[in-house]
């Protein structure tokens, strides 16, 4: 188990009659960032809550840092930090009281806890009551609390939800630094634009089942299509249009003003660009646009609804 910080095997969970997780299995390696995506109700939050020990499961096994989460819950939770989708702090405490309480629970020295607070630029807020903080600040505090003691695994449920652009960028930077320090991050999100930038691998859930587990680049290649834009002047654009039609039979080639546009797979894109280059047809510009992640996830999950 040394090469895996989190192992989930055959996890099954029901809410009443409804099966919300159906034999989900995956692992997270040290220094890896894994994103969990899927449509609403796919089981993303439930999966994370089962891992953290907040939700009970009827079958399967969760191991965190070698500790069985069901039987050695406290030791397992010592290996992780958790940021809930809507984090709430007990009672009516100040930021300092929260940091002191959670540092105490995680057995983190005061100096180390304050360093985490400084890293997330909360040191100016220590005397404030949590109720007085803005939503973004409260989320930042929850992130600080979850990362106290630098646990080997961070579990984040919709970490970017409700954050403004600047805070989102800070969060991405935080996750990047966390990964660079050799630790792992598992996060559920529906902000799919973050996936190529943040995640090494993606777990796509649909109706409680894992329908894709692999590199985020593979998610785009496997399910989506690319758009190829070629710009040429006058007769050149007609020549480009004909060349693409010949290279990509069955594909619709359109002309919009000076641009010739075709949607195709990754292999077809490479073939078309190669033939375009070899043909010597003069072109002014070539652009490609990868299929949006939303498209890829939708394609993967559509049949499982």
């Amino acid at each position: 188990m040394g090469d895996v910080i989190l192992s989930v095997e055959g996890l099954r969970k029901r809410y009443g009659e409804r099966l919300v997780l159906d034999s989900v299995s995956f692992a997270v390696r040290p220094g890896e960032v894994v994103a969990v995506v899927g449509p609403n109700g796919a089981g993303k939050s439930t999966l994370l809550r089962c891992i953290v020990g907040l939700a009970r499961y009827e079958a399967g096994r969760v191991t965190i840092g070698g500790f069985d989460a069901a039987r050695q819950g406290k030791s397992a939770r010592r290996q992780l930090g958790y940021l809930a989708q809507e984090p709430a702090f007990p009672g009516d405490m100040t930021v300092m009281e929260a940091v002191a309480l959670f540092a105490g629970l995680r057995r983190v020295e005061r100096g180390e806890a304050l360093a985490t607070v400084r890293e997330l630029r909360l040191d100016g807020e220590l005397g404030k009551r949590i109720a007085e903080l803005s939503g973004g600040m409260r989320r930042r505090l929850a992130l600080a609390v979850s990362s106290l003691g630098r646990p080997p695994l961070l579990v984040l449920d919709e970490p970017a939800s409700g954050l403004d652009v600047a805070l989102k960028a800070e969060l991405r930077e935080f996750v990047r630094r966390y990964r660079e320090s050799g630790r792992s991050v598992l996060f559920a999100t529906h902000v799919l634009e973050d996936i190529p930038r943040l995640a090494d691998r993606v777990l796509v859930l649909a109706n409680g089942r894992a329908v894709y587990l692999g590199p985020s680049a593979g998610l785009l290649m496997g399910a989506g299509e690319s758009l190829v834009y070629v710009r040429a002047n006058g007769a050149g654009s007609r020549a480009v249009e004909e060349l693409l039609r010949a290279a990509l039979p069955g594909r619709e080639v359109r002309r919009v003003e000076e641009w010739v546009i075709v949607a195709c797979s990754r292999e077809e894109k490479l073939r078309a660009l190669r033939e375009l280059l070899e043909s010597g047809v003069p072109v002014d510009d070539v652009r490609t646009e990868e299929a949006p992640v939303e498209e890829a996830v939708r394609a993967l999950t559509e049949g499982h609804r």
Binding site: A88, G91, G104, L105
Partner: protein, 272 residues
């Protein structure tokens, strides 16, 4: 243990911050002052601490269970509803540890309010009545503290059972009515309908923390038949004051431990 200490401290801090706990403490002090001043001006002047204690007992037996149960139920269910329990339980903290810390913190809060209210009241009482029978008054204070523990423990159990604040409040209110009003009426009706057995007397005394606290206090403060009632009189006659007090004290301890154990067993099966 460290985790329990930290969380109980936090509970106590929250209890101290709330307006209800100081209000409860000052309310109790005011009631003691009223009782003492009535005693000083009325015909019963000279009854000392015992007379005042007997008078206060009825107030404490109603107010302490109400406050303890409501506090336990609403603290637990409220924090759960807000999602704060999830944040705590995502730390290396056991579920039973969190329950224990909540009961301890709330108990300590109510206990301090009782100590403040009855203690301040007792100090004021010295101004009106001769300083005698203080030992019994302190014993009464301890029994009130134990009853607070049982009430808080039951309250937290109701919080676990209820899930949300509203349901937890409903269960706690129902239980309070049951323990303080319906229980007595039930046994009065039962004793009137049939010749009560010794076992029934014991059951009646131990099956309700409020009744156990009442009989235990009266045993020490004014152990005559009229005030003890049939249940207390039976226990005193059959077991003697010492053994009866030990039995009732154990019952109060069990009333703290058992609800907590049931709450722990239930909560371990629940999602947070």
């Amino acid at each position: 243990m460290r985790e329990i200490g930290l969380l109980a401290q936090q509970e106590l801090r929250e209890a101290a911050r709330s307006r209800w706990l100081p209000a409860f403490g000052f309310g109790l002090a005011f009631v003691v002052w009223l009782a003492a001043s009535a005693q000083a001006t009325g015909p019963a002047f000279g009854g000392g601490f015992n007379r005042t204690t007997a008078g206060l007992l009825n107030v404490v037996l109603v107010v302490v269970p109400a406050f303890g149960m409501m506090l336990g139920a609403l603290r637990w269910a409220g924090e759960r509803e807000r999602g704060a329990l999830a944040l705590v339980l995502a730390q290396p903290v056991g579920r039973t540890e969190l329950l224990l810390a909540t009961v301890l913190g709330c108990w300590l809060g109510v206990g301090l309010a009782i100590a403040f209210g009855l203690g301040l009241g007792g100090a004021l009482l010295v101004l009106f009545v001769p300083l005698g029978s203080v030992r019994e008054y302190v014993f009464f204070l301890l029994v009130a503290g134990a009853l607070a523990g049982a009430s808080v423990s039951l309250g937290v159990l109701f919080g676990v059972l209820g899930g949300g604040r509203l349901r937890a409040f409903g269960i706690a209110l129902f239980a309070w009515l049951l323990f303080t009003v319906a229980y007595d009426l039930f046994f009065v009706a039962l004793f009137a309908a049939a010749e009560p057995s010794g076992r029934l007397f014991v059951l009646a005394a131990l099956g309700n923390p409020v009744e156990a606290a009442r009989v235990l206090t009266v045993l020490f403060v004014q152990p005559d038949l009229e005030v003890l009632g049939p249940i207390g009189a039976y226990l005193r006659d059959r077991l003697g004051v010492g053994a009866a007090a030990a039995l009732l004290s154990s019952a109060l301890v069990l009333w703290v431990v058992l609800p907590l154990a049931v709450a722990s067993a239930l909560f371990r099966q629940q999602d947070v």
